[in-house]
Assembly symmetry: C4
Homo-oligomer: 202 residues x 4
């Protein structure tokens, strides 16, 4: 039992480390404007101009925070982490560590004619994140490593419905990206807020 | 009970991770001077010239350290972390991860004519930090998740007075920033030292 | 006993921190393309063009993840961490923190005439990683700090054979690098996948 | 008692986080050479040329690792972390997070006529590190927060002698820096190796 507990504990510690670092590194998305002859007016303008970077920072922060909250919620019900679960968890972490890249990319190109490509990579990453999280629950159920009393406490149908909504909406955002980049990004951000509200009430 | 403990423990671990990373990333605020033909004299001059960067590093280090100490102090009295508390904590972490940006911004512009904007963003971030920390205490009290014996051990009136001082002073620093940038920054740094002394004696 | 446990616990926490940070920092290997006049076509082309960076990201992520998994597996059997074990662990962490450098180097030069040098540094790092991990097991056995029942649970011959395969193959990759850089890299990536499958089945 | 334990545990977790991040960030000291038209010969030459960066990486890695080991050793004897101890610990962490800067600075200037300034900043940082660690022991003893049986297990005279050697030698390195930069750096690196051997035998 001690071994099993330390097993889950270390998976949690490692995952929390990755979540904490990925969420803290998002700030590097925000660049201090370089103005050779700055005035209050030009610096303020330069700071306003990079609003997509702030929006990306907020959106990715919220998304990683919610993924962490849900990860936390799921792991409470895991009795012990076996290898398949650890690999599914590794896949989730892969996507989480990747998030700063599409966030930077979107911020750099959302106001340019190449916005579609930026939105496509951004939405695809969020779709992969949703799929990775679904996979983790699926593996946990398949491997029978959930606590026996999970069924009483967790409304699996509700979870399944909630987890289905994610991939479907993010899938729509991916399809929409080349045609309406802003719309695609709005869906991704709205999903983050939606999941935040959902998990707030849970 | 174990679940509750692990619940708080993981919130602590995640928060500590974010605090530790944010505080360690501040060093990237310090740039090695690039001198094509360096001499002892020019390198020394170049290192002195970026004193605002060292001041920003020290000030933000002290501020994050104190926030961590107080966070630590607050969490000792939390019985279990519910969702509202976790979101309030998430808001605090959002501001903490953001700190390197205004620190860099201020360091880059404090000696230029755009100092007011830099000081304004810097002081506003510190104000938000103080508000986020107040919110966290408020949520903890409102949700009734404090240990029953907290009232005996914590002087709530003193805490409330201390926590009121923060937003008020930082608010003054924000208002002062456009007119007297240096004064605004001095208030922020003085508050960090003041809170350090306060928490040293607590 | 408590002291011993906290001893191993803190070594785990520190190591997990280093693993988590090193794995999360790999994303800085991925640069947002800088295009002065971007279009959907040029941005997409620029993103495709840096496929070696994605491959490096994936390969190093998988490698660090597996090292973490195996580290985790080994530490389950450690009764207490003495100084020699801590230094062997420190050597492993040295190589782990170094990984982002050869990954960046390889990504930058694999498509240039200097590919051989990039592949040589990359394969050498992986070889050192394998040697460091072997050293850690060796020290653990030599120092007699493994749990008494480790021998019943761990197939040492299998472990030894598995651990011998690593240095041999990575050694071959190092020798091959100057002559056939791509082949050298393929061996390194194949080893990561091979160890993943191996540890999945363990 | 539980509170006290969690108190020390969280200080350890936070400190370990800072140590782990600072040690992992050292890799950013190593830059991938930018060669417009690379060949095997020019890339190899460019990689050799930045040997001071590798030396700095190794030296700072070893130093942080040993500080971590000794911190770990000290905290085993701490019954509970009070505010003064936490501030002394905060001062130590301040210097630890600062280390990547003098390491980069030294690497950039050791082969230039400005080597003296680089060595001076480097040696001064190491001196501060040694002083911060001495302060931590001193505060722990002064505040009476060491375990009662510490005196039986720790040879305080030996510790004091060991801890005195650090500041003295680093002080000599600081004084030597403007006149003989290489000699100053050699002392710092030799001290790291010396402390490693010392703590290996402890």
């Amino acid at each position: 039992m001690t071994t099993d507990h330390s097993n889950t504990a270390r998976l949690e510690a490692f995952s929390d480390g990755v979540f904490a670092i990925a969420i803290t590194l998002l700030v590097f998305n925000l660049k201090v404007p370089e103005l050779p002859k700055p005035t209050e007016v030009t610096l303020r303008a330069a700071l306003w101009q990079q609003w997509p970077a702030y929006a990306g920072f907020l959106s990715s922060f919220l998304t990683i925070l919610i993924i962490w909250l849900n990860h936390h919620y799921l792991l409470k019900y895991i009795r012990r982490a076996d290898r398949p679960f650890m690999f599914a968890n590794g896949f989730l972490l892969l996507i989480v560590t990747f998030i700063p890249f599409p966030t930077s990319l979107l911020s750099a190109y959302i106001l340019t004619p190449a916005a579609g490509t930026g939105a496509f990579v951004f939405a695809t990453t969020y779709l992969l994140l949703a799929l990775a999280f679904n996979l983790l629950w699926y593996v946990a159920q398949r491997r029978g490593i959930l606590h026996p009393d999970t069924h009483r406490q967790v409304n699996f149908k509700g979870v399944r419905r909630g987890y289905l909504t994610g991939p479907l909406c993010y899938g729509a955002a991916v399809g929409l990206a080349p045609f309406w980049p802003i719309g695609s990004v709005v869906i991704c951000v709205a999903m983050a807020v939606f999941f935040a509200v959902l998990s707030y009430e849970a």
